[in-house]
C-alpha cells in the first residue's frame, strides 16, 4: 500500500540535467514523442502542446494494433522551468482496468510537476491526484481522506 495519501500518487525523481532541460522535455512534442512511448509495442501518434494557462494538450500513443491511447487535458498553471499543473483525461478508455470509454474513462485527474534545482541536477516532484475537483477538496477538508487511509490500514 502506498505511504502517501490514499487518493494521490507522489513520485520524486532526480535527473542529471538542469531544471531548464527537464522542463523543456516536458513541454516539447519532440521530446514527449521519445519518452512517453510506453514500450516497444507502441508508436507515438499526434502530440500537441499549447503550453499556457488555459491551453490544451494531446498525447496520442498507438498500440501495435493501431489502437489509440490518448491523454488530453488543460494547463492550469505554467511557471517556466519551475512548475506545470494540468488535468489528465483518458477519455478513450484504453486505461487501467475498468475505465472503458462507455464508462466515461478517467476524467479530470490533476498532475502537478515541480522542478527544483538540486546540485547540478534537478529534483522533480510529480503528483498525480485522483480526486482533484472541488467536491473532493471540500471532502478532504472535512477529513474523509483520513477515513480512506484508515480503511487501507484496516484491510492491508
Amino acid at each position: 500500500m502506498p505511504a502517501t495519501k490514499t487518493h494521490q500518487l507522489q513520485l520524486v525523481r532526480t535527473f542529471n540535467a538542469t531544471p531548464e532541460e527537464v522542463y523543456a522535455a516536458w513541454t516539447s512534442p519532440e521530446a514527449i514523442k521519445v519518452f512517453f512511448k510506453p514500450g516497444n509495442d507502441f508508436t507515438m501518434g499526434r502530440v500537441d502542446m499549447d503550453v499556457r494557462v488555459g491551453g490544451y494538450y494531446t498525447i496520442q500513443m498507438l498500440s501495435k494494433e493501431g489502437k489509440p491511447h490518448t491523454a488530453t487535458g488543460m494547463f492550469r498553471d505554467v511557471v517556466p522551468n519551475k512548475k506545470l499543473v494540468y488535468t489528465w483525461n483518458r477519455l478513450d478508455g484504453n486505461d487501467c482496468g475498468g475505465n472503458s470509454a462507455e464508462e466515461g474513462g478517467l476524467k479530470d485527474t490533476l498532475i502537478t510537476i515541480e522542478f527544483r534545482p538540486k546540485g547540478s541536477g534537478t529534483e522533480m516532484v510529480f503528483t498525480h491526484d485522483l480526486f482533484p475537483n472541488d467536491t473532493s477538496r471540500d471532502a478532504h477538508n472535512k477529513g474523509w481522506t483520513a477515513i480512506l487511509d484508515q480503511f487501507v490500514r484496516y484491510h492491508s
Binding site: M1, P2, T6, H7, L9, L11, R13, F15, N16, A17, E21, V22, A25, A31, V34, F35, F36, K37, P38, G39, D95, C96, G97, G98, N99, E103, G104, G105, L106, K107, M124, F126, H128, L130, F131, T135, S136, A139, K142, G143, W144, I147, L148, Q150, F151, V152, Y154, H155
Partner: protein, 115 residues
Amino acid sequence: MVNKKTDVQWLDDVFAALAHPIRRGMLEQLVEGETPVGVLAGRYRVTAPAITKHLRILEEAGLLSRRREGQTLWCRAEEAPVKHIAEWIAHYRRFWNSRFDALDQYLKTNRKNKK
C-alpha cells in the same frame, strides 16, 4: 455493483456517502470491526428511519455490507472502494516510473548530442 458504475459515478457516490458526519462516524467505528446495527445506531440521537437511510447510502456507495445472524443485523466496512483506488495508484506508479526512466535516457542522449 461497484464495477458496473462509471468511475466518476462511483466516486461521486463515495464522496456523497462520506459528506455526512454521522456516516463518517459510522465508518470510523466499522473500520475497527464488524458491529451490530443497534450498537452503531445507539451512538446517535436520530430516528431509526434516519439510521436506515444513512446505512443505505453507505451500502449503495459500496462502503458497507449487512448480514443477519439470528436477531442481530451486523454491519461491516467493505474494502472494494479502497482496492479500486489502490489498483489505480499501482497502475500509474508503474506508468510514470517507466516514463521517468525514458526521460532520464532522453536527457542523457540530449546532453551527449549537444557536446
